[in-house]
Amino acid sequence: MLRGLWKLTWIEVKVFMREPLGAFGTIGFPVLVFLVIGRVAGRNLPAPSLAASSFFRVGLPVLAALLIAISSVISLITIVSIYREGGILKRLRATPLRPQTILTAHVIVKLALTAATLALMVLAGKRYYPIGIQVPWFGFTIALLISTLSILSIGFLIASIVPTARFAQPIGAAILYPMIAVSGLFSPINSMPPVVQAIARLLPMTYAVSLLEGIWRGDAWSKHIGDIAALALVFFACIALSAKVFRWE
């Protein structure tokens, strides 16, 4: 059923790497920024206050992980809409390739790039962020994978309905980035106005943040079953919806 998946995935990786800013923009640039911040922060923040240190210890890595995930989701939205506008989706469709194979290939590429960026960051950042010593990397990776899949499904829904490639990137950014603001990453959900709290509880980013922060801190998975259920719900709802509204051309 998924005939051609690996070949298509591999080709998409190669095609992406050939883009002028492909490899550097997605992998190199975030790592570079991370290193620069690490150098500066490492030197200038010898004794952080308790609140600041909590943000630096937990919030910042989670924020970095989410930003990488979101940027790959936005790049997915953009690619799908460019492929649609250019007739590439239609051309692929006039073969025995199944639509789910085409989309799965793109998701795999994005997940792989997210994972590669994060791994490089961790390796590069080890010198500047000694806090990483007790972090459950494996668990955090799984948690990020779950979060990314959920955000990707929103991305797919956006990609299914954006009218043209020109709008894809701004619309994706306008929907995804503000979700972080109310996700509880910067201030606890409970301290927000009731309306914002209600909105926050509807957004998957809130559950992604809760899950990622918890796992980073070393929580047991059982404490976050609610988060995972919410993320899964969003995933299946968005996939079902995009299957209905997806346009090939």
């Binding site: 080709i11 492929y83 590439i88 006039a94 073969t95 025995p96």
Partner: protein, 311 residues
């Protein structure tokens, strides 16, 4: 060899209709394409050619009507069908930075059947030295040939070609016509669309003329011309002062128009030319010019629709 005598339809389209909002793109379209022939759907841009073809390919669902391709329902059994056909779409693109060999390799991996020899295919299509070129760096003709290669990679039973030479220079066009004839010689069926009447005349065994979503007539190009445009025109030049009178005496002639030394003689049927030649030799009229204007599909289209296909 029963197949040779009775044509076996591999595509059957009956009464399909397709609307986009309030626009009726295709209405009551019915036709059959026989095994081993090159069948052309011809008409101006926007006549419904591509919509019809995409319904037959299974990537669009008609609102009404039935289609059968190789005994399959193209919409419900689309993957089974895609396995056995080859498709070249109008205005398609590939990933900008995909290499020629990667595209061919990917396509070859998608089909159940053992794929055609990719290297030979690229050789035949003159793409051998472009194997490592990115899609975005190919010329229009090279892209078109790559799409034909992709349409042929699974050694398909039916090949669909939508406006395959649009935007190509005459030389590239002729090369591609040769290729399409080659496909037929290997026993495949070709279903193509074109708005170029010359292409239809030189390539197609049978054509269907479509205009404003409806099929007006279907037949061989020659029979369509004979049926709808039996007029024949002879243009000749002579300084013989008695000529005009003699020409007017030719039986079943419709008109003789003179301008200076040039005469335009109109009539019907293939006999007109014989009659004119007969008249010239009998009356010993010396001519300095002698041309026939034979109608073609373009004239058929004009006659049937009241407008030129180029409009």
């Amino acid at each position: 060899m029963n197949n040779l005598r009775t044509p076996r339809p591999v595509i059957q389209v009956a009464g399909i209709r397709k609307t986009y909002g309030a626009t009726v793109a295709v209405d009551e379209v019915s036709f059959e394409v026989n095994d081993g022939e090159i069948f052309g759907l011809i008409g101006p841009n926007g006549a419904g050619k591509t919509t019809t073809m995409e319904c037959v390919e299974g990537i669009r669902k008609p609102d009404r009507g039935t289609i059968s391709v190789l005994g399959l329902d193209p919409f419900r059994q689309v993957y089974k069908l895609q396995d056995r056909i080859g498709v070249q779409l109008q205005q398609a693109q590939l990933q900008k930075r995909i290499k020629v060999w990667e595209a061919v390799d990917l396509w070859a991996s998608l089909y159940k059947k053992k794929p055609a020899d990719a290297k030979r295919l690229l050789d035949q299509l003159g793409l051998a030295d472009k194997r490592n070129a990115w899609f975005m760096n190919l010329s229009g003709g090279q892209k078109q040939r790559l799409f034909i290669a992709l349409a042929l990679i699974n050694d398909p039973e039916v090949v669909f070609l939508d406006e395959l030479t649009t935007g190509l220079d005459p030389q590239a066009r002729r090369a591609i016509w040769e290729l399409v004839r080659g496909i037929r010689e290997r026993g495949k069926t070709v279903f193509l669309t074109t708005h170029l009447m010359e292409e239809a005349e030189r390539l197609c065994d049978r054509v269907a003329i479509i205009e404003r979503g409806r099929i007006i007539d279907i037949d061989t190009p020659q029979r369509l011309v004979d049926r709808h445009c039996p007029e024949r025109v002879v243009v000749l030049a002579t300084s013989d002062s008695a000529a005009e009178e003699r020409f007017r005496a030719i039986p079943r002639i419709e008109s003789v128009v003179r301008s200076d030394l040039q005469f335009t003689i109109r009539g019907r049927g293939d006999d007109l030319v014989t009659e004119v030649i007969h008249c010239l030799s009998e009356s010993r009229i010396r001519v300095t010019d002698f041309r026939m204007i034979v109608p073609n599909l373009e004239d058929v289209f004009l006659k049937l629709t009241g407008r030129s296909i180029r409009d």
